[in-house]
Amino acid sequence: MPLASLPYLTPALPEILLALGGLALLMYGVFQKDGDGAAEARAARRTAWAALAILLVALVVVVALGKDRALTFGGLFVVDAFTRFAKVLVLAGAAAALVMTGDFLVRHGAGRFEYSVLVVFAVTGMMMMLSANDLMSLYVGLEMQSLPLYVMATFQRDDSRASEAGLKYFVLGALASGMLLYGSSLVYGFAGSTNFEALAELFRHLGADRPPLGVVFGLVFILAGLAFKVSAVPFHMWTPDVYEGAPTPVTAFFSVAPKIAALGLFVRLMMGPFGELAPHWQQVVALIAVASMVVGAFGAINQSNIKRLMAYSSIGHVGYALVGLAVADADGIRGMLVYLAIYLVMNLGTFACILGMRRGGRNVESISELAGVARTHPLFAAALGVLMFSMAGIPPLAGFFGKLYVFLAAVEAKMFVLAAVGLLTSVIAAFYYIRIVRVAYFDEPGEALDRTLRPEVAWIAWAASALVILFFLGPGPVLKAAAAAAKALLVE
């Protein structure tokens, strides 16, 4: 093949790096001698470090590529300020989740090198999703991230809860992918193209009031499929089971990287090709957002397992983020992106705390285990308390500012009811967040948790709570980056 006909590869450099790196790690792992437990653990540790290095290098490359818009692979693949912002979040989230995993899987009898390889491949898929500029590359990226995730959910394969979680995730995930694909085919059938720019051009030409009925139909299917991927109500049913069943570091990973990637894709798809049809999908997204906020708030009240509680919490947070999309303008998208950045930090910190809940080397998951940790582990309790208040959206912590920008956009767009409902559900949600603070601070200590936190977990928890506390000092840079990303999305 003549060199000149090679596609322009630079914009896709991080993805190429990740894919090659993942393959190399796979090769390394496969050629290890098996049967020896210690050797397996060693291989797992080495691949984890290597995977972390690959993710960080990819992060550097993403940042170094700059925020200029570039298209490649015949218009299938795009990079701009938006993809850069979202990819940084995904890579940072994945890297932190990988660090947090530490020796968790080894201790729980599932220390195999495939885990890190799967993380790398899943992240590759997420980056492709974010850069998709065509319904086909979108689908390829989506499936590429989904398949490793299904396997990761069942990584503790002798644990029946994990198997159940993985199976449920797989069946429902496949259904959602099917809906998305069906919706895409309807859109293609009625609009005649799968390319985002071509679609946007077509709808601009047709005007918002007269899109073909088939396109609207397809759009609804695509919305349903995406709502499933971001676990928005009414497609959220899998979330609590998967969050509870999957190994805790995997849950931490699930709650950040795929969620941010899917929300990023959601935003690009709705604001890009379907931007002109906003009046048609705005109401649907607003409804999904309200339903997610309500279910997230009420569903968590009665949970006793902290991972299950976090599942409902993440449903609620997706609802808040979708408020920004429902507004469908630059301010809304900016608010949503800031929200996602803050959500990432809060969630990683909280999962670090959850990973710190150990007794006799085993992880425990019941909220009541936290009773009185403020006396036995004051710093751990303080970090957890800060993160919980932040999740509840109490100023001056970062979680408040996330909500502030989203609801500011909603109010500026005169969506007062949406804002009021959203903020009232945050009061209900505050109840279960501060219930955790209550257990940690007000209750008498029970059987004490393990004295020492693993350093990597402790550092992530401290760093997250410090960021959450100090965000109010300088929200400027995050705001500016998010505004640039939102602008890049809208000028296409």
Binding site: A374, P395, P396, F400, F407, L424, A430
Partner: protein, 513 residues
């Protein structure tokens, strides 16, 4: 004018103290002792520093003074902007006065987790000062709401037996009100395009929005004040909170609501304020009469004082919505007086609670025989709470009543019954606790005020008499700003009541005027 960024210093200093406390190491006893003294020094220096405000304040100006401004959220016109006027400056001083008193009052009462306790109080002082000094909508909201975290922990960790229930009730009631206010703040910001309070005071919000915005603000401030019927969190929170927690709650946090009405509802939403004034009057009268009667029936001293707080704050809301100079000055004065007196009364209860661990009125009687100094201090604050001429309570109540009589004699008359009912329940309380024969076994060896406790009460006694006998310095500080507020409200009401069309249609007319 001072070049010193005095308000920023006041906001940051307690945090510096808290950070210092965080790093104190050593044995538990030593740490506790050091923590106490660091907290006392920090809050003491803070108070001395805040005196600059008192002496440097220009009483001739209605504008904001000691103003500082810095970029916070670039491009959004949301800034770190602080300053005080005649309405807010005295509340800053009230805060800085009460915090060292709280630290001193907790000296021996708190033995468990002293470090966290003092950090919570210092952080709270930062939030309270910041709240009164904020001149930016969102800065205001951040401070307004951030107070919830330390107060929640103070009630929940160091509180009484039903602390968890009370802490949750306090937190959720206040939060529910506040988020509605947040929607209103966002709407105000969206309409005006700025979060700068001085500029917003000059901005006219659309009359059609005003009722909704007013109700959203009301939801938050009414919970904080608290007004009947959303006052139910207050008795619970007070009863369960540790003494110093009650002091701050009654002394400063309740003023957030009254201050909010004066800072936002009145000047920014004059038309709606006028329309809703009857509602405020009705709720205030109910608060004054009903909660006074409820107070009469209480067997728990703290609960009694909590209900009396609701009644006294009823004067504040009624006075503020009379839109008269006397009414508004009376409301501010009443808040200050209540801040001192109710704080002192909670401390009074705390003194005997520390000794006997009971708040039931039943368990006391005849304390005057063993505790003459205590009986004297109690009497001063009791009479100030009743509103005896010569004490601070009288000035506030009489000004409010004068203001109210000008607008609605019925409301004034009904509110005035609160003065009588107040005398009934306070004197009844005093008689049962202090007078009579000392027959109770547990009280036979009870000791009088210690030197530390006298140090706690002395400044408050002085202040009660000073504000009662010579209130002029206080009134002078608030006078120009209050007059300006009255003018703003009148102007806003006049504009809102004008028919809109002629003004818009005939620019000649406007020019001719």
């Amino acid at each position: 004018m001072f070049e010193l960024p005095i308000l920023s210093l006041l906001i940051i200093l307690p945090l510096v103290g808290a950070a210092f406390i965080l790093f104190i190491r050593g044995e538990a006893e030593v740490v506790a002792a050091n923590v106490r003294s660091v907290a006392l020094w920090t809050s003491g220096i803070e108070f001395l520093l805040s005196l600059f405000l008192w002496f440097g304040f220009d009483t001739e100006s209605a504008g904001f003074q000691f103003v500082e401004r810095a970029e916070w959220m670039p491009g959004l016109d949301i800034a770190y902007h602080v300053g005080v006027d005649g309405i807010s400056v005295l509340f800053v001083l009230l805060t800085t006065l009460l915090t060292p008193i709280c630290v001193l009052a907790s000296w021996e009462a708190i033995r468990d987790r002293v470090r966290e306790y003092m950090i919570a109080f210092l952080v709270m002082e930062t939030m309270m000062v910041g709240m009164f000094a904020a001149l930016d909508l969102f800065l205001f909201y951040v401070f307004f709401e951030a107070v919830l975290i330390p107060m929640f922990l103070i009630i929940g960790v160091w509180g009484g037996p039903r602390r968890v229930y009370s802490a949750f009730k306090f937190f959720l009631f206040t939060l529910a009100g506040s988020v509605l206010m947040l929607v209103a703040l966002l709407a105000v910001y969206a309409d005006a395009g700025t979060a700068d309070i001085p500029r917003l005071l000059a901005h006219r919000l659309p009359v059609s929005w005003q009722p909704w915005l007013w109700l959203a603000f009301f939801a938050s401030f009414a919970v904080k004040v608290p007004m009947w019927p959303v006052h139910t969190w207050l008795p619970d929170a007070h009863v369960e909170a540790p003494t110093a927690g009650s002091v701050i709650l009654a002394g400063v946090l309740l003023k957030f609501g009254g201050y909010g009405f004066l800072r936002f509802s009145l000047p920014m939403l004059p038309a709606a304020s006028e329309a809703f004034a009857p509602l405020i009057f009705a709720l205030s009268v109910i608060a004054v009469v009903y909660t006074s009667l409820v107070a009469l029936a209480q067997e728990d001293m703290k609960k009694l004082i909590a209900y009396s707080s609701v009644a006294h704050m009823g004067f504040v809301t009624a006075g503020a919505f009379s839109f008269t100079l006397q009414g508004i000055e009376g409301a501010i004065f009443q808040m200050l007086s209540h801040g001192v007196v109710s704080a002192a009364l909670f401390l009074i209860v705390g003194v005997v609670y520390d000794r006997t661990h009971s708040r039931d009125i039943e368990t006391y009687g005849g304390l005057v025989h063993r505790m003459p100094a205590y009986a004297f201090a109690f009497m001063v604050f009791m009479l100030a709470s009743v509103g005896l001429p010569g004490t601070s309570g009288f000035v506030g109540e009489i000004l409010v009543l004068i203001g109210l009589f000008q607008v609605n004699a019925w409301v004034a008359a009904l509110t005035a019954t609160g003065v009588i009912l107040g005398a009934v329940y306070m004197l009844y309380l005093y008689r049962r606790v202090i007078f009579g024969r000392l027959t109770k076994e547990a009280l036979a060896r009870i000791g009088d005020l210690s030197a530390r406790e006298i140090a706690v009460f002395a400044p408050l006694v002085v202040l009660v008499f000073w504000m009662g006998i010579f209130p002029a310095p206080f009134l002078k500080i608030m006078h120009v700003s209050s007059a300006n507020l009255v003018r703003q409200v009148d102007e806003g009401r006049r504009v809102a009541n004008l028919p809109v069309a002629p003004v818009a249609a005939s620019p000649q007319l406007a020019r001719a005027q």
